[in-house]
Symmetry: none
Subunit: 259 residues, 2 copies
Amino acid sequence: MVHAAARDRPHRPPRTGDTRANRVNELVLIVEDEPEFSALLELWIGQAGYRTVPAGTGREALQRFHELRPDLVVLDVSVPVLDGWQVLERIREVSRIPVLMVTARSAEGDKVRGLRLGADDYMTKPIGFPELIARIEGALRRAHQPPPSRARELRHRALLIDLDDHRATLGGGELRLTPTEFRLLVFLVERSGQLVTHRQVLTGVWGAGYGTDVHLLRMTIRNLRAKLEAVAPGEAYIATEYGLGYRLTGPARPIPEPG
Amino acid sequence: MVHAAARDRPHRPPRTGDTRANRVNELVLIVEDEPEFSALLELWIGQAGYRTVPAGTGREALQRFHELRPDLVVLDVSVPVLDGWQVLERIREVSRIPVLMVTARSAEGDKVRGLRLGADDYMTKPIGFPELIARIEGALRRAHQPPPSRARELRHRALLIDLDDHRATLGGGELRLTPTEFRLLVFLVERSGQLVTHRQVLTGVWGAGYGTDVHLLRMTIRNLRAKLEAVAPGEAYIATEYGLGYRLTGPARPIPEPG
DNA sequence: GGGCCGCGTCAAGGAAACGTCAAGAACCCG
DNA sequence: CGGGTTCTTGACGTTTCCTTGACGCGGCCC
């Protein structure tokens, strides 16, 4: 997959430093009962540089699957003995390798069913060679790559917030925050060094309608302060701006990171 | 009375979870210049439980993308200022989040081009609601999943899971799990230490359409906990994240600690 | 320095999320 | 066509968290 896809791509793929070149011969299991179409698929996919194994029935497909551990499965819905749905289900109980379903029927209900069962893609006959290969390569590329580490993090002094994992640590010590406290802290850190008014915080963290409930805000600030204080005593993170709002102390607006 | 204003508003105003801090719902960026179709997409995707952000031009799309860091992008090919290809390319230079392309043109060359550039899927108008949602959910599910290791067994602390013959043992003791419990445990172990939201588990283990059935999830969690507890009393494996989801405790992803 | 308003604190009520029990429905196997 | 297992649904007790109230302290302004 590295080969063909990269060839006509103008830009370098981002940070795909993975240079394990030894997966040239990936194995594709082709489940299809019509001999002609099966042969055609084998020809096409083989031409694209993959090894192929055919299976004419659902049972045979599962046997081959367990025995050979293919890297990808092209699966026709209407195969005998066990139909495509059942095969997909059985495979998904054990593995998450890419499964591309192919069928003559284009009923939307079928597509949805297949996709919900965990199919990676759903194609209807007739299908052309380039598209088939493109979809196969796409599926394999995604499979080989680690999931998008969207690790969004915020930092402020010794504070570190992982937004995806919903975790906050202070100097290595874990902060056990309630959902509201967490949202409040995130709100403040995103505006670290800046003055934020009561109204801004209330509408931002609680939503419209809380704009005047300053007391509620004070309570949550208090709880948050207590938890920060427990982990890092003496460090004053949240400063009160008398009559206005609050401000996260420390280095003013850090340099915005690229991205 | 400090709370005079507070008393007059409805007791619990709708929690407009619109703040960026509240990231329980996943964010979908919709790039589409036809206002009608854009609105329709927003309606549909919003109904399925996602937050949406529209963008009418390619330039705006990139701005929104960098600014909001969406979890998924629905991208029309024919948007002005920068077309879909260019937007996709720019995104792929930086990120690997799922991008679903939509277009009126069904030329096969286009499909191949999109898929090679790294699009996760390619849909041609007209497209139906169920299929759209199914493809979105499929893409998100795959994005959140760890790469499909072909390993036949998983380990986590004293837990050992054999994927081939559906067996799970805890410190040598056999766990007799039902199919659903087994899938749930596998799902959690594959993400050990990470927070998984209710929605993620429900769509991942049960399939799309269960996204809001939290009660069902609680029941299964309970049964699974009971069986774990029976074999290893006192060991808390599944932690509850109040208001969010669950987390498998133990050797979590270590948090980078400065100094 | 005195009054006023804002702020922080302690404490308790109530709502939402969670865990639990139990019974009905769907399913699979023999 | 039963019997058993598993999945699903409903109702209820429990925990956690959010919200509200009352009170004392302290800064700000005249």
